[in-house]
Symmetry: C2
Subunit: 341 residues, 2 copies
DNA sequence: CGGTTTTCTTTACGCGCGTAAATTTTATGT
DNA sequence: ACATAAAATTTACGCGCGTAAAGAAAACCG
């Protein structure tokens, strides 16, 4: 490594003895230049360690290799996990992903989209906040940038939607619960941030009707994204008031279930499927943490791999010109039996 | 909002009737132009909704308002939480934070730094991976960009270090445990990714010596960042082999403790400080999830606010020219008593 | 009102790189 | 060795904006 520091492609082309346009071509695709010049460039590269400025590169490019990934809340390990998964797939496909979080704030969400524009992304993978999202701003963005929506559907928006089959989720786990014990009550937030919650409630109602059981929905108060605390407080209230008509509780999502488990613990109520247990609790999502609750949480898990693969593949295909009419793909979840139910 | 879409500052200056350099000045600081021209610009802004391209802005600026935030692993809610905290502080101070994660991979860590360079950040807040970080690359980066290290110290690197006082953490919680029951065993990973772990072990040894107790360190196998699973598996092994000489276990961090709690549950061992409990378990970190374990985890918590405030303030002060000699600031943790110990 | 200061406008160049067109050099084939 | 194709070089302009300098216009002030 030499001392003289290279600050731009001009200088690098000088020390490598290759013209700048050719160097530029090399960085765009090393195979697009003659083998001998590639060698000369790479020799100089070892000696001088120069890297093109990524933002200047994109400035005047027709098609960039940038992909934006937007999630509603990075502090939720579920989104962190799926975002990481998507990032890796983009990298493997030769793209440059950049991750953004709306941090639960719809204003930040559109702020993020505006900044994303400047990146001139070839495409965007976006999980909207849901109910709170500014619909008009989203639409405008999707008109300009190829955007695939995942996790939380906003109908007919963007290139397509890929997510989990929430109806199947709830019907499947309801089915399991009904067959193995008392029929479940449904534990949810009154005003959920995410539209998937409504599908799950409806699916629960359907399932109960199919089984000929009386459904019972407990909708608790709470705003924001602190689901565990909302579940814990709501759980305490529901337990104290004996609102659960059976010994089985199906939660709208795992984070709520985690809070409910804590409430049960705090009231000395033993959870599980053993004879000595008072109630059964199940969640939905396959949250990364659900394995480590006590008792470990029975849940129905997103197929992280399938969702992220389908989402990434669809977007990259669209970028390559294989645009198809809008469609919604919903992937089935896998029941994960653990001790809680 | 008009139909004609503005794509650059040139066009916007045309429709607003103000020259481009003045418009540029306005976006740099709205107060730097005459009130009447500010009005004209803002009127046009409402009508045409234009936003300067953030990357083109930075391209030829002497001092940008960009701040990079780099954490080792966003999937860990602890880092997600502190990153969010730092982001907010930067925004409040008028800076534009951009968040990056090394995803536990030292190669990605330097990759991130290289990309960060192109952003021409005024400063960077960085939590290094620790042991695995490529020291030389970090140093080179810190030479070029004002960088404040947080969470995990790399001695004398960057502008300064801000983090928690790990010695105080462990000595404080050890003290509590010793005074309220049997002295703790120390449960840790054999080859921890983070150097803080060594300080905690040492502090435990010191504390036990001070109390006149025989220390006992259980170092379990495991590589990577899946601490809960490592703690669970290691916990099972240690419990089965009766490696814990007392009924109290202090874990090197909360995630390990969460895994250990699961292992205890799976072996039917009741955790807590009640008379009917077999062992006590405590963690360290004040992990966002520690409130919701069963039993809720007694831990010693980072002072998230103080750490992030001190880190952000120090960096921003340095950016403003108030550079001080390198120093290390370690902030005390707060004991959080819950049911597990 | 003239003089002074403040603020704009004009003009021009720079950032680091993409990209197109014309030209020259190098490789390939027979 | 020659024609031909392939690849590199030169030259020039563009992206969207920062920024500096000089002059014109507007505001302030006694």
């Amino acid at each position: 490594m030499s001392e003289t520091t290279i600050k731009n492609m001009e200088e690098f082309s000088a020390v490598s003895g290759i013209s700048r346009p050719t160097v530029s071509k090399y960085f765009h695709d090393p195979d697009s230049v003659r083998q001998s010049t590639r060698q000369r460039i790479e020799t100089a590269l070892e000696k001088y360690d120069y890297r093109p400025n990524i933002f200047a590169m994109n400035q005047n490019r027709k098609l960039t290799k940038n992909v934006g990934i937007v999630v509603p809340l990075l502090a939720d390990p579920y989104f962190a996990e799926i975002a990481r998964n998507l990032e890796q797939r983009c990298i493997d496909a030769g793209y440059r992903p950049t991750l953004f979080s709306a941090h639960g704030d719809p204003n930040l969400e559109i702020e993020v989209l505006e900044n994303l524009r400047a990146l001139k992304p070839a495409g965007v993978l976006m999980a909207p906040l849901g109910r709170a999202s500014h619909r008009a701003a989203l639409e405008k963005f999707c008109d300009d940038v190829p955007t695939l929506i995942f996790d939380s559907s906003v109908d007919e928006l963007g290139l397509a939607f890929v997510g989990s089959d929430n109806f199947q989720f709830t019907s499947h786990i309801s089915d399991y619960l009904c067959r193995t014990g008392e029929p479940p009550c449904f534990f949810e937030m009154k005003t959920p941030a995410n539209p998937n919650a409504h599908r799950r409630r409806q699916s629960y109602l359907n399932a109960m009707e199919a089984f000929g059981h009386e459904p019972q929905v407990i909708s608790i108060d709470g705003e924001g994204w602190a689901f565990e605390e909302i579940g814990r407080l709501g759980g305490h209230e529901a337990l104290s008031n004996k609102q659960f008509s059976t010994n089985t509780i199906l939660c709208s999502n795992d984070r709520l279930a985690i809070g409910l488990l804590t409430a049960c613990y705090e009231q000395g109520i033993k959870v599980g499927r053993g004879a000595d247990c008072a109630i059964r609790v199940a969640g939905q999502d396959g949250h990364p943490h659900s394995r480590y609750t006590c008792p470990p949480l029975t849940t129905i898990s997103h197929d992280y791999d399938a969702v992220s693969k389908h989402a990434a593949d669809s977007l990259l295909a669209a970028i390559d010109g294989h645009v198809e009419p809008w469609k919604s793909t919903r992937i089935e979840g896998k029941l994960i039996l653990r001790h809680s139910a």
